[in-house]
Each structure stands twice: as C-alpha cells, then as structure tokens.
C-alpha cells in the first residue's frame, strides 16, 4: 500500500525536477495519443519540439516567432504570479488585456492621422491605465464589499469582450473600411506602430517589456519588502497581519500590477503583431498565462522558460498540423496533458511517497 506523507518543507529537488519530468511524461503520453491517431510518435514529437527551433526551412522564421508568441504570455503571467503568490486570484487577465488594447488603440486613433513619435509611448501608458482600471473593479469590490475576486475578474472578461465587439463594429470601426468591422491598421501607421526593435529577431517593445518585467519581479520578490509581504501573505495570512501587512493594500497593489502588465500586453499586441482592433482580437493569452504562471512555479525565471515552452508547443503544434495532418484538437489535448502532469507531480514536491505495510485494524 502506498501512502503520501507531507514533507516538513517542500522538496527543492522536486521543485525543479517536477516540471522536467512533466514534460517527459507529456511526450510519452502524447506519443501514445499520436500513435493511436496513426502517426509516428517520434516524428510527431520531433516536429513539435525540434523543428520550430532547428528545421532548416522553418527555424529562421519560427525562432523569432517564439518570442512574439511568448512575449505577451510572459508579461501577463509575471503580473498574475505576484498576486497568486499572495493568494489573490486574478482570473480575468484576458479582460484587462482587452481593455488595455482598447484604451491604447482608442488613444492612438483619436490623434489619427498624426505621426508624432510621442503617440506610441502615450498609447503604452493609456494601455496600462486601461488594464489597471479594469483590474481595480474586482480589487475595490473585494476590499470594500468582500466580493470574490475570482468571480468578478472572470465575469468582467465577458463584459470586456462585449465592449470589444461594439468597438470593432461601431465606435472604433475604420471609416474607410466599407462598413466592415475592425479598426484602422495601427501597425502600418507610423506613430501608432510597435515595430521590431532589432529587425529579424521578433523583439518588439512588448517582448522587451516582458524581459524587463521578469527582472523587476525577480528583484521585487527577493530584495524588496513588498516581495516579502507578498510571499508572507500567501504562506501565512495570519502571521502577515501580525507583521503589519495591510491585506487591502496588498489586494489593490497585486491586482493593479497584474492589470497594468496585462493591459500593456494588449496594447503591444494590438499595435504590433495583431495590428488592429477586431471582434475576435483576444485569442486567450490572458487565460493561457495562468497556465504559464503555474508551469513556471510562480517564479519569474520559471515563467520566462514556461512562456517559451508554451510558445514552442503552439508553433510546433501548427507545424504538426501542416506537415503531418494532426488535428488541432489533438494539439490542444497535448497541451492539456502538460498541465495535467505538472499539477499531478506537484504532489511530489510537497509529499513523499511511503510504502507502508498493511496494518490490520
């Protein structure tokens, strides 16, 4: 009989080992799934994990694309992780991402056709404000009226989507778009565009901001009193209160930071890779970032790696669709396995497995 015994402190080895083992187990279970679908499992795994990085025809294009895809995931996940560490559950980053894009795009389009170089920086600030304002709704409702931030932030995603649709078909619609939905193209208009900072690398301002956020979060968590308060509030809420941590202030701060980062991610996306406000502008980065945050163990460096890994499975998954004809749903199942194994193996970090003799009662 197998028994789980709680470790006095989480195992350091398993903290690092579990994600790696989860990836290996995902490859094995995914390989079985691909084999059942009539694919060569080794080939399928190679196409997903190896070809985007090293295939002679695709790699030169795919490598920069990894950064483009990972950038918003990392930026959002960093913000979420700070809150998650403190036990503050912002599930609505998707909505903050949309509102950031809308605020920033609306600001840029209000000044159209000006091409002033000051517009883009101001759009970034507007985007950050949009995300922040949207996150303040659950924050203030929680601190004032003790509502549940999980529900409020999640439901506000659907409100944001409705506002996005009304913007794309109404108040931000391109006046030269012949009645079709969608705003003007921000990415192709000097002044409102978010170009590659170094050509050919995929590094647009959003990716650079994501890297800065990783470093800032690392410093914050390890060197700053706020980081200490965040960790303490998550691990021992009562002790945190005795230590003088103001829980209301922490809620406002954590939701505010994650709202700002998600809003900026939305703005960088709408002015760069996506290019315009459309009805379906949001593609789920805000939700996927939750997975990235946990995959990265809520640690800034872990999140950086997890974001890149997630991007790799997306791009590799697309290649598998094109080259092998694997259905899109199989790729989604594969990504789901990754999260499943990761969470399942979490047990090993906090518990040790004991083989106990059966005791007759």
């Amino acid at each position: 009989m197998i028994r789980l015994e709680k470790r006095p402190t989480p195992s350091r080895a398993w903290n690092i080992g579990a994600p790696i083992l989860a990836v290996v187990l995902t490859m094995i279970a995914g390989g079985v799934m691909f084999a059942l679908l009539g694919q060569d499992p080794v080939e399928a795994i190679r196409v997903i994990f190896w070809d985007p990085l090293f295939h002679e025809r695709f790699a030169a294009f795919s490598r920069p694309q990894l950064l483009v895809k990972a950038g918003p995931l990392i930026l959002i996940a960093i913000g979420l992780a700070l809150g998650f560490r403190a036990g503050i559950w912002n599930i609505g980053a998707e909505g903050q991402y949309i509102m950031g894009a809308l605020f920033g795009a609306a600001f840029g389009l209000a000044l159209y056709p000006s091409e002033s170089p000051l517009i883009f920086p101001a759009m970034v600030i507007a985007g950050a404000l949009g995300g922040w304002a949207w996150a303040m709704i659950p924050a203030i409702l929680k601190t004032r009226f003790r509502t549940n931030e999980i529900l409020v932030s999640l439901l506000l995603v659907y409100v944001a989507e409705a506002i996005l649709a009304s913007a794309a078909t109404g108040w931000l619609r391109n006046p030269e778009g012949m009645g079709f939905p969608g705003s003007r193209d921000l990415a192709r208009h000097p002044g409102t565009d978010n170009p590659e900072v170094i050509a050919g690398t995929g590094m647009h301002w959003g990716v650079i901001t994501a890297f800065i956020a990783v470093i800032a979060a690392y410093v914050l968590l390890n060197r700053h009193v706020l980081g200490y308060q965040i960790k303490l509030a998550g691990q021992a809420p009562r002790a945190a209160r005795f230590a003088g941590v103001n829980p209301g202030r922490l809620v406002i701060l954590c939701l505010g930071i994650s709202g700002v980062l998600a809003g900026m991610a939305g703005l960088f996306e709408v002015s760069g890779p996506a290019g315009q406000i459309t009805i379906d502008f949001n593609v789920g980065y805000g939700f996927t970032a939750i997975i990235v945050a946990f995959l990265g163990r809520l640690h800034p460096i872990g999140i950086l790696l997890a974001g890149l890994l997630m991007a790799l499975t997306y791009i590799g998954g697309e290649l598998a669709q094109l080259m092998l004809g694997v259905p899109a749903s199989a790729i989604q199942a594969f990504q789901g396995m990754l999260l499943f194994f990761l969470l399942a193996l979490d047990v090993l970090a906090n518990y040790r497995i004991k083989r106990a003799r059966e005791v007759v009662a």
Partner: protein
C-alpha cells in the same frame, strides 16, 4: 511580423531551398486555413468539403494541407508563412478576419496565390477575394418562413452585426413580408460564429418570445436541436444539416465551394490565374437550395423554387425597389436594384424591421 527584412530573408532562404525541387513534377500544394473547426458542420466544414472535392478531382497533381482553429491576426500570418515555407503554392483563407494577415503575407511572397473568402482587401496582385451571394438563399428561406409561421413571429440568430449578416436579415425579412404582411422578426446577435450552448440559448429565447420559425446565421446545429424539442421550424445553414430532416429542418442553403476551388487551382496551374473579386450565387451554383421537406405545403414549395429560379436566371434581384431604410429614408426607387459595392457594405436595416442595429 510586419517586418519586411525578416521575411525577405526567410523568403530567400525558402526560395533557395525550393530551387532544386521545382525542376521536377512537384504536386501543386494548396494550404487551407480556417478560423473554426472543420467539424463545426457549418462554415469551415463546407470549405473542407470543397477542399476534399478539389483534392479528389486533381488526384496526385495537387496536394493539400490544412490548419483549423487558427486565430485571426498574428497567428494567421504565422501559419500562412509556415505553409508557404513548407511548399504551399496557393493559400486559401476562409474567414473574413484573415484579411490583413493575407495581404501582409502576400506582399512577402508575390509568387504565391491567395484566395480570401468574404474579404474586400486586395492590396497585392496575387490576392483574390471570393464570396457567395448568401442573401439570394435567404430570400428563399425568408419566403418560406413568412408562409410557415403561424404566430407571425420569426426568430433570427445572428453572429455579429456586420454587412453579410445584416444583408441576409434584410433579404429574409423583405421576402417574408412580401408573402405575409403581419410577420415580425426578432433578432438576437450572439457575438460568435460557433457556440452551440449560446446558439441554443438564443433559439430558446426567441421561441419564448413567440417565434415558431428560426433562421440562423451561426454555424452549429444547436438551434435545430432546440427547434426539434419545441416543435418549431429551422433552416440548414452552410451545410444541409440533413440529420434534422424532415423537421425541424425544412430546407437549407448549402455552400458549394468545391467547383470554385477546382477552377482557381486549375487556373493557377495553367498560369491563367488573375486577381478577381468573385461574388457568385444560385446562378453559378455557389449556393444550392437543399431539399424542401414534407411540412412545407406543395404550393409554397412551388413558389419557393420559382423564386430561386428567377434569382438564378437573373430575372429578379432580391433587393428590388422600392425599399426604404429603417428610418424611412428612401434607398432604392421603384424597380431599382443596388450596385454590388454598396450592397457589399450594407450596414442598415430596411424599413419594417423593428430591432435596432447597435453600431
């Protein structure tokens, strides 16, 4: 990825890699990219049926690759670029929202042909757009709906308030009113093309408001399932939805892309492909009226088929004046028909529709 240098560099690499291979008889490769799942039984499904028909027609001479559930914007650009790097000679993008991505990629790869469904942007000579005159089919379903409703309330589930949906609503409404002056339309926009749960809720809400015939401009069969329970009528959308025959599905408007794809791929292989803006309907059999089933009385079936035939022959245009806009402003004078341009961008309801358009 609107970055010329990257893609030029990548394109050069790809071209170099492809050079030795082009000398021999490589199959002509066509990449299809869909916003939805090809299992939706609606829009993406019928495009995939078209792909399969085209693939079978050409046999070994043509190869197809496919990517489904691709988000519009950056993801679409990346997937199309990867298809081309993988050897695609033609890209077929089957969603309106792929427009900017199609044109961005087309600029980088001038030797690849692009066919973009329901779009209007043709910024480069290698981009064509194509669409079907769905409003012709909706004239016929509206005609049948006007006859079949007993409560005089017809429910209409729309996706988004965009020209193609608004045009279909107007066409259906005008032809329902023509045969039934008391008919009212109730519209619900669900804000999605495919969400069975939401579409079912919308159908139920319309039935609760008294509707006994449901029209839909969304892709799932959920409204049919609700209609089956409620004893109301529905129409197959995009595909025949034959599993709901003979009722609630009393007829359907089927999208028929196969022959179009065969023509365009043949033209590309022959070197006769030219940029165009195709907008085809009953006449070219781009849309086909499905079987009209038992619950529809014989005389209604006959008048519906006559309406279809008169549209197909070009003798009748579903938008023939006098038609006023919702606020009473005249749009078309007696006997006047609209130009394709304004019709393509139609963003107002016609007079008599009581619902308000939020845009």
């Amino acid at each position: 990825m609107k970055h010329l240098k990257t893609l030029l560099a990548v394109g050069a690499v790809a071209a170099a890699a492809a050079l030795p291979a082009t000398a021999q008889e490589e199959p002509f490769t066509v990449g299809f990219i869909h916003v939805g799942s090809t299992g939706d039984m609606g829009w993406s499904f019928t495009h995939d049926q078209g792909r399969i028909a085209m693939d079978e027609h050409f046999g070994d001479a043509v190869e197809t690759v496919m990517a489904e559930s691709v988000a519009e914007g950056a993801d679409a650009e990346r997937v199309m670029t990867q298809m081309i790097l993988g050897g695609a000679d033609m890209i077929v993008a089957t969603s309106f929202g792929f427009g900017p991505a199609v044109n961005a990629v087309a600029e980088q790869f001038p030797d690849v042909y692009f066919e973009h469904a329901t779009g209007f942007m043709r910024d480069h000579p290698n981009v064509s757009t194509y669409n079907a005159r769905f409003y012709e089919g909706r004239a016929v379903t509206g005609h049948i709906a006007g006859h079949m409703t007993e409560s005089n309330i017809v429910g209409y589930i729309g996706s988004y308030p965009i020209p193609t949906v608004i045009r279909g609503m107007n066409s259906a409404f005008l032809h329902a009113r023509e045969v039934n002056p008391d008919v009212e339309f109730r519209m619900i926009f669900v804000g999605t093309w495919f969400d069975p749960a939401l579409e079912a809720d919308a159908a139920q809400a319309l039935i609760d408001q008294g509707a006994d015939v449901i029209l839909q401009h969304t892709d799932s069969t959920a409204p049919h399932a609700v209609s089956q329970e409620a004893g109301t009528f529905a129409f197959g959308q995009a595909s025949d939805m034959a599993q709901f025959k003979p009722a609630p599905r009393i007829t359907s408007v089927i999208d028929n892309w196969g022959p179009f794809y065969i023509d365009r791929v043949q033209a590309a292989m022959d070197g006769t492909w030219e940029q165009q803006d195709a907008w085809e309907g009953f006449a070219e059999e781009r849309i086909i009226l499905g079987e009209i089933t038992g619950p529809v009385p014989d005389e209604v079936r006959a008048s519906a088929l006559a309406l279809r035939d008169s549209i197909a022959s070009g003798e009748y245009h579903p938008f023939t004046g006098p038609i006023n806009m919702q606020d009473g402003t005249p749009w078309l004078a007696e006997g006047e028909t609209p130009e394709d341009g304004p019709l393509a961008g139609m963003n107002f309801f016609v007079e008599g529709i009581t619902a308000e358009l939020q845009n």
